[in-house]
């Protein structure tokens, strides 16, 4: 078999704009700019299920979960379409009120919950989005691998989705990191990222479920690592420590050594700082591996990127390779996945994942909140710093994690940013405000303020999101992924949301789950 290259993989497996549905896709999302993310997603899910030999009927006899990465849980396209407000948001701006049906629609557009509903899964099926900005897709597959491991699901539909939107386009342009030409990952003359759109889906299934269905498994997610920089809202830590820890965690879980990694699909956004850190860390750990960036061909698909690239990694692993895929994000999130043959000889893991470093130090109570933090982020900082007082002594700071659950996330910042774009479309909007539109900006401020350097996720769903976050935190502890996890929910009331969801109240509730 001919060796697959990044080029041939992208040509075969990436379908820009997904204009032609292959299988049966419901007509509801067709030609609806405000539902474009869901439209891209539905087509990818449809293809993935068909390839896995699964029908919606078969899914109803199994315990199925949905875990998807996306940037802002579909809020971008529910607010703006190009540079015009969507009909629902336009009516709100004009009248200060929203139609109850529009409120119900808004609440039904979390991509994971929407897919669960679309497939007719039961109400209690786990369905959450990971909103870790540009590492969301990788992290969603990592969460799915925990759901498979802890027995809560037979099968998980895992991946990510994002459509093009004026919001990230204007935001990245204002930050001065946008290239209108196709981006040039790792090139000396790279000058920024170029956006794309799409969705990527992997079907993760337990060995038992595959046996019952009479299917032999060839590939597996062998390892996942997540680690946060706790350094800066938008800039990566130049030392690369967070990325290095995420990669080493994924390798440790996979039970493979760096020399067994045959190829790497890096994040490679072609921004100066991101590529420099990635090049340094990957070059040092994997001097002999092929590094195959793909964003020059797909564009940066944000919350979908890690998932689309995990699909590429899986295809690259089909000829017997063991492939690493890395993601870095706003908020200092780093994620790594190792994908390879399910039969690969592996060294069983002993001890913890990330290498231990300096002991965790609790934040000083009542310390001033970070200067630039938005209202939503300030709520998170206060809640996390208070809960962090309960973290047991003697735990390394890289083994303290954070899982922040939210139903509405940083919607106030998204609305404010959209209003600024609408006010003067010809002028650049505030890059600071843009960097606060990602839900995980709150988690970033919280990790910096509380000194948390371990795995860090922001989960977004309208139903049971705090319960899902707590289950995942317990699973992290049981599996040695972290020794203590601050876990809880933050939600903030704002005027557009009060119109959509009149019963909403501020929620700030955090606790610590720790190894006994």
């Amino acid at each position: 078999m001919a060796k697959l290259t990044a080029d041939s993989v992208v040509r075969t497996f990436f379908h820009p704009a997904w204009t032609k549905p292959v299988f049966s896709v419901s007509g509801e999302t067709e030609n609806r700019p405000d539902l474009r993310t869901l439209h891209l997603l539905a087509q990818a899910v449809d293809r993935a299920l068909a390839q896995a030999g699964l029908s919606p009927g078969a899914l109803r006899t199994m315990h199925v979960g949905v875990c998807l990465g996306t940037t802002v849980g579909c809020q971008f396209c529910t607010v703006l379409n190009d540079l015009r407000p969507t009909p629902a948001y336009g009516r709100f701006l004009e009248t200060g009120t929203a139609d109850p049906q529009e409120g119900a629609d808004f609440l039904s557009r979390n991509p994971a919950e929407w897919i669960a509903h679309w497939l007719g899964l039961p109400e209690d099926a786990p369905a959450v989005c990971v909103t870790n900005a540009c590492s969301s897709g990788s992290d969603a597959i990592g969460v799915a691998s925990f759901w498979i491991r802890n027995g809560c699901c037979d099968l998980v539909i895992a991946g990510g989705c994002d459509s093009l939107s004026a919001i990230p386009y204007s935001g990245f342009s204002a930050l001065g990191v946008y290239s209108d030409d196709p981006c040039k990952p790792f090139a000396e003359d790279r000058d920024g990222l170029t956006l794309g759109e799409g969705a990527g889906i992997l079907i993760l299934e337990t060995a038992e479920s595959l046996r019952v269905r009479g299917i032999s498994r060839s590939l597996a997610v062998l390892g996942y690592g997540s680690n946060c920089d706790a350094y800066h809202l938008t800039a990566p830590d130049p030392s690369g420590d967070g990325l290095r820890r995420a990669v080493l965690s994924a390798l440790t879980e996979a039970g493979v050594s760096p020399s067994q990694i045959t190829a790497i699909n890096p994040h490679g956004t072609a921004t100066r700082d991101n590529d420099a850190v990635e090049q340094q860390v990957l070059g040092e750990l994997f001097p002999a591996s092929r590094i195959l960036p793909t964003k020059d061909k797909t564009g940066h698909t944000l919350g979908a990127a890690g998932a689309i690239e995990a699909v590429f990694a899986a295809e690259l692993a089909r000829d017997g390779g063991t492939v690493l895929s890395t993601s870095l994000a706003f908020g200092g999130s780093n994620a790594a996945l190792v994908i390879g043959s399910a039969d690969l000889p592996r060294t069983p893991r002993t001890g913890g994942y990330a290498p231990a470093d300096t002991p965790y130090e609790k934040p000083t109570p009542g310390k001033a909140t970070p200067r630039r933090a938005s209202g939503f982020a300030k709520l998170a900082v206060e809640g996390v710093c208070q809960a962090a007082q309960e973290i047991p002594e003697g735990i390394a700071r890289t083994r303290v994690g954070l899982i922040l659950a939210t139903s509405f996330g940083a919607h106030r910042e998204t609305f404010a940013f959209a209003d600024e774009l609408l006010e003067a479309p010809e002028l650049p909007p505030s890059p600071l405000r843009f960097s606060h539109t990602v839900h995980n900006a709150a988690a970033a401020y919280a990790t910096i303020a509380a000194g948390i350097h371990g795995p860090c996720l922001t989960l977004c769903a309208f139903r049971n999101v705090r319960e899902r976050a707590e289950e995942l935190a317990r699973c992290w502890i049981d599996n040695g992924f972290a020794d203590a996890v601050v876990v809880g929910q933050v939600d903030e009331v704002s005027s557009p949301l009060v119109c959509f969801v009149p019963t909403l109240e501020n929620v700030v509730q955090f606790a610590v789950i720790a190894r006994r």
Binding site: A174, H232, R371, L427
Partner: protein
């Protein structure tokens, strides 16, 4: 607009957009460095200041490079804004 008025406006926009809550326009020294020791701003604040120059002072910022001299102080920013206003037809 005279130079003092321009500098006062510039400081007010910077304080508001960069959430410098404990700072007043009077407390910012016109020659003090904005980055590092002075106001302790960083690169994310720098791109925000570039947008303030565009949105509030209608400057053309294409020529501004990372680490540019114009970010040295309030006086340096005011020089840049004035040079742009003088070059207008």
């Amino acid at each position: 607009m005279n130079r003092d008025e321009l500098k006062r406006q510039l400081k007010e926009f910077i304080i508001e957009r960069l959430s410098l809550e404990s700072v007043t326009p009077e407390s910012i020294d016109d020659d003090a460095p904005l980055f590092g020791d002075g106001l302790q701003l960083d690169s994310l604040d720098a791109v925000e200041i570039i947008v303030i120059l565009q949105r509030k002072f209608h400057c053309d910022v294409k020529q501004i490079k990372k680490g540019s001299e114009i970010f040295r102080s309030i006086n340096a920013l005011a020089d840049f804004i004035e040079s742009q206003q003088h070059s207008e037809p």
